[in-house]
Symmetry: C2
Subunit: 212 residues, 2 copies
Amino acid sequence: MGVKERKERDKVEMRDKILQSAQQLFLAKGLDQTSIRNIAEAIEYSPATIYLYFKDKNEIIHALHLDGFRLLVRHFEPLVKFTDPFERLIEMGNAYIKFATTNPGVYELLFVRTEPMEHVSNCLDEEWKEGDRAFDVLFQTVTQCQQSGHFKGLDTQNLSMMIWSFIHGLCSLGISNHIAHVKEARDKKLVVDAVMASTYQTFQTVMERLKA
Amino acid sequence: MGVKERKERDKVEMRDKILQSAQQLFLAKGLDQTSIRNIAEAIEYSPATIYLYFKDKNEIIHALHLDGFRLLVRHFEPLVKFTDPFERLIEMGNAYIKFATTNPGVYELLFVRTEPMEHVSNCLDEEWKEGDRAFDVLFQTVTQCQQSGHFKGLDTQNLSMMIWSFIHGLCSLGISNHIAHVKEARDKKLVVDAVMASTYQTFQTVMERLKA
DNA sequence: CAAAATTACTAAACGGTGTTTATTTTTAGA
DNA sequence: TCTAAAAATAAACACCGTTTAGTAATTTTG
């Protein structure tokens, strides 16, 4: 009687199919241009069928959100090779910026859009594990920097939040095209990426000075 | 024959009426819940009439965008009373945070949403004056800090961008509810405002250390 | 094996969106 | 008063997320 088992397999298969198409559309055309109807057309089912596998659109968005976080965490994995915590901190920033600029749509989904946050609020706290893990990578690195004698007298949590705020601000301004309209960016005809790079360079210098 | 003049007055009056209603709805219910149809109903005209005064919805959004910038600049005006440039810099951050947290919808419109940016791209650069003015307030203050001997060896433009990135990152994470999901924020049951305040406090300490 | 019951699916509708077109109403000038 | 221009709109178009009621396929049961 493997019927029930096969049906369950079919069910998750369909779920994956929906999610896969949703992701494809999302990466190609952005979140706002990814509609339930588009997804349905892509998988050659009626729109109503989607609702047999997902409660609503936000549940789909949330699933993509989780995938995005996994992608981010994967960007952080190579950082273990940097034994010096300060160096790792700097490289973490570079990895974060690279993730954001090469996957702007995903970045927006993770850290700019509020839709996934609203969904998370209605879930068990359990669901936010991925987010915690990503922040923890930063927190642990800052902790190790302080154990090495850097950043004395600064609260680890606050300093981590400060660093995240800066990097996130830089990335979101870059992605949302706000940097392109700042005077100097126009005058000097620097592209957004260059402004981001030189700004991060200055941040790096500032952190260096805080070491002592 | 002041009929032509009166008609022109009527035209701008109608434009203002539309904009006023749009702003009211926008502040009350957010951008996404402010539809052309809502605005039309509020001014007791048909939706199609709106299009006799505005090319499309983005043109309305852009007008609100300009108003928002003026509001931000107004938040910066009291800062002239701080004669010490470093003190002014710190207070500027407080003013910015206050603006963002008390007008989250407006803040989102100015610095998170991309719709107004897209519209700005299709305009003369002239249109972005307000944005430049706001950034210039920061840039000039950083310049004066450096003239007072602070932040030696750091590029003014990059340092200004760094500061803006941090503050913007902090505000946007706060507004978008992402801070609320960071572990420590939950564990210690700190509200978002408290996390923002203590993070900014740490930033202030960091900037103090850079003075020398 | 046929009938009943369950499951999978979808057509159609509801109420919403931004925007356009054709039409009607209002206004102004001769 | 009649006509031409201007202003406003009704209705439609093409979308959107979502729900409901009903159909088609499949599985279980007698």
